[in-house]
Every structure is written in structure tokens, then in C-alpha cells.
């Protein structure tokens, strides 16, 4: 039972988890953008955006994503009390 639960929350068998974690960490490694750099970019971007927009800082999601053979920096930045969503897509993790 415990094993079942822990598997449910850890996202499956550890071999699968290893592959997914590796794929993520290697996107950072190969592009020489460590997570701490991403965090710095985020802080500066928030500072800039706040000059013009009311943004929901807690809801910001910024990640490197693999797209076929290239990599994209994808930022999801919700606005506070906005009429229209900035992006149609909501992505976590």
C-alpha cells in the first residue's frame, strides 16, 4: 500500500523518473543555463514587467522546454485582475 502511494506521488517507476529527470537536467546542462540563472532572469523580468503590468508573481512559471531539436524558454505570467488571459495555455512543472 505504501509503495503504491509513494509510486503514485513520485510519478511511477524509478527508471521512468530517472529518464524524465535526466531529460530536464540535460536541457539546462547542454544550453549552459543552470536553474539559478533562470531564477535571476525571472527576478529581473518581474522587475521590468511590474513597471507596466500588474502581474501575479506567485503564478509565474518559467521553464526551458524541448521542441523537437531546439529548446525554448517558455514563460507563463498571469496578470492580476486582467480581463483576458495573457496566454491560453496553463502549464505546470
Amino acid at each position: 500500500m505504501f509503495e503504491f502511494l509513494s509510486r503514485l506521488f513520485s510519478g511511477g517507476k524509478s527508471g521512468r523518473v530517472a529518464k524524465e529527470r535526466l531529460q530536464l537536467v540535460l536541457i539546462h546542462d547542454r544550453n549552459d543555463i543552470p536553474p539559478e540563472t533562470l531564477e535571476k532572469i525571472k527576478v529581473e523580468m518581474v522587475r521590468l514587467l511590474k513597471k507596466y503590468l500588474e502581474i501575479d508573481e506567485k503564478g509565474i512559471n518559467m521553464n526551458l522546454e524541448r521542441r523537437n531539436r531546439s529548446v525554448a524558454l517558455v514563460a507563463d505570467i498571469p496578470l492580476k485582475s486582467s480581463q483576458r488571459p495573457v496566454r491560453g495555455r496553463k502549464k505546470n512543472g
Binding site: G15, K19, R30
Partner: protein, 265 residues
């Protein structure tokens, strides 16, 4: 036949570079090629003990570089098989005792006399690795199905590509088929999906690797174990032969393996 100079490397330590170097050197010599294995790990030499030649060292690679002896004086001939030589490195020195240019010079001298020069690289991505790779034409990258080893292999592959040490071929070592079957270990295909290089060998986790290193007798001297067969297969593939890969997916948990377990082997 043109000489091929191959560096065996991994990034992460302890994944089986030296064992691979020793076993492939023996296997290639068994196939009739003239082979020399060089220990590229100045200060932490181990190829000598893995090959069981530690008592025969008189001169080292560093002596050759410093002009204390000639290159052929540092070569230890393995008496167990014809055409196999080993060049040890110095134990009481540091990485900066050898430069990339000196390594290249030595490799080029060996090129005329050998079919294969295998260089056992130290772990890491710094000068030691760069020196070991400097004289090589191509590379074998050894990894194990673990996140740390695969991550480091990816880094090393990037560096080897920028140094134009190609082709780069991958060896996945220490596979436990029953864990792969349970989904609790990266499968060879997972590692290939991630690293995107050519596979040249898969080696099962095998206790006989430990016992053979205890004795200083590379496995490929005596046939029989799974790992030994895997190394012999890799040697054949290096020579351009098509050899099917051992099934390490854990799917064929057949009669033979249960029999082996029954007899405690």
C-alpha cells in the same frame, strides 16, 4: 591496417573505464591485433593492477616524457597473450607532468607499430581528461544506467565532439536485467534516447568483474561470464563485425538463468 587510437572515458569515476580498457586490450590482442594500452591517469594509476602487471613496472610514461628512458623501455609486454603491451603512468606525480602535446607525440610514435592504442582516461573533464584524449582519434564513452553517470557522459560527449574525437561510441556498463524488467533501472534504450550516440556495447552487472580484478586477470583471458562475452563482442564490433547485442532487458528470464541461480552461480 591503419592504427586506431581510442580514448576510453566517462566523466564520472568508478563506472568501469579501466576495466573496459583492460578487457578490450586483451580481447583485441586475442583477435590477433597488436595492441598497447596506456594508463592516462597520472597520479592515480590503476591499469597496471587491473591487468595484473603492477610488479613489472620499471619505467613509466612520465619517464619517457622526461627523457629518462625510450618509449619501448616503458612498454610492458603481457606474457599471457602475444602482441599485448601496457604503458603505465607515474603514481607519485601530478596531472601536469604530461601535456597534451607530449601525449600526442607519444601516440604518433606508437601509430607506426600498433594496430590499436587504447588510452584509459582519468575521470573528470579537466586537464587529465584533455591530455588523455589529445592523442586519440576516436572515443569510447563508458556509462552506467544511473542519472549521475549518464549526465556526466553527456558532458563528456559534448567535449569530445568539440575536440573532434569521432566516432564516439557508447558502452552501457553494469546493467541489472531484472531491475530493468521491473522498471527500476534505466534501460539501454532510455540511455540512448538521452545521449543520442552510437551504441557499441552493453555489459551486464557481473560479480566476476570483481574477482578478476582481485586476481589481476582481465575476464577476456578466460571465456565464460556474461561480462567477458560482452567485452569480446565489443572488440568484434570495434573491428567492424556485426554482433547482435546481448538481451539485457530481463525479459528472457529463462531456464538457463534459473538453473544458474539454482546452482548458486
Amino acid at each position: 591496417m591503419d592504427c586506431r587510437i581510442i580514448v576510453i572515458t566517462s566523466g564520472k569515476g568508478g563506472v568501469g573505464k579501466t576495466t573496459t580498457t583492460a578487457n578490450l586490450a586483451v580481447a583485441l590482442a586475442n583477435e590477433g591485433h597488436k595492441v598497447v594500452a596506456i594508463d592516462g591517469d597520472v597520479g592515480l594509476r590503476n591499469l597496471d593492477v587491473i591487468m595484473g602487471l603492477e610488479n613489472r613496472i620499471v619505467y613509466t610514461l612520465v619517464d619517457v616524457i622526461e627523457g629518462t628512458c625510450r618509449l619501448n623501455q616503458a612498454m610492458i609486454r603481457d606474457k599471457r597473450v602475444s602482441n599485448l603491451y601496457m604503458i603505465p603512468t607515474a603514481q607519485s606525480r601530478t596531472k601536469d607532468s604530461v601535456t597534451s602535446e607530449q601525449m600526442l607525440e607519444i601516440c604518433n610514435q606508437l601509430r607506426n607499430d600498433f594496430d590499436f592504442v587504447l588510452i584509459d582516461s582519468p575521470a573528470g573533464i579537466e586537464a587529465g581528461f584533455r591530455n588523455a584524449a589529445a592523442g586519440a582519434d576516436e572515443a569510447l564513452v563508458v556509462t552506467t544506467p544511473e542519472v549521475s553517470a549518464v549526465r556526466d557522459a553527456d558532458r563528456i560527449i559534448g567535449l569530445l565532439e568539440s575536440m573532434e574525437k569521432t566516432p564516439i561510441s557508447l558502452i552501457v556498463n553494469r546493467i541489472k536485467p531484472e531491475m530493468v524488467k521491473r522498471g527500476e533501472m534505466l534501460a539501454v534504450q532510455d540511455v540512448l534516447d538521452i545521449l543520442a550516440v552510437d551504441l557499441i556495447g552493453t555489459i551486464p552487472d557481473d560479480e566476476s568483474v570483481v574477482t578478476s580484478s582481485n586476481r589481476g586477470e582481465p575476464l577476456t583471458f578466460s571465456n565464460g561470464s556474461g561480462a567477458s562475452q560482452a567485452f569480446l563482442d565489443i572488440a568484434k564490433r570495434i573491428c567492424g563485425n556485426e554482433v547482435p547485442f546481448m538481451d539485457l532487458s530481463g525479459d528472457q528470464k529463462g531456464f538457463l538463468s534459473s538453473l544458474r541461480r539454482f546452482f548458486g552461480k
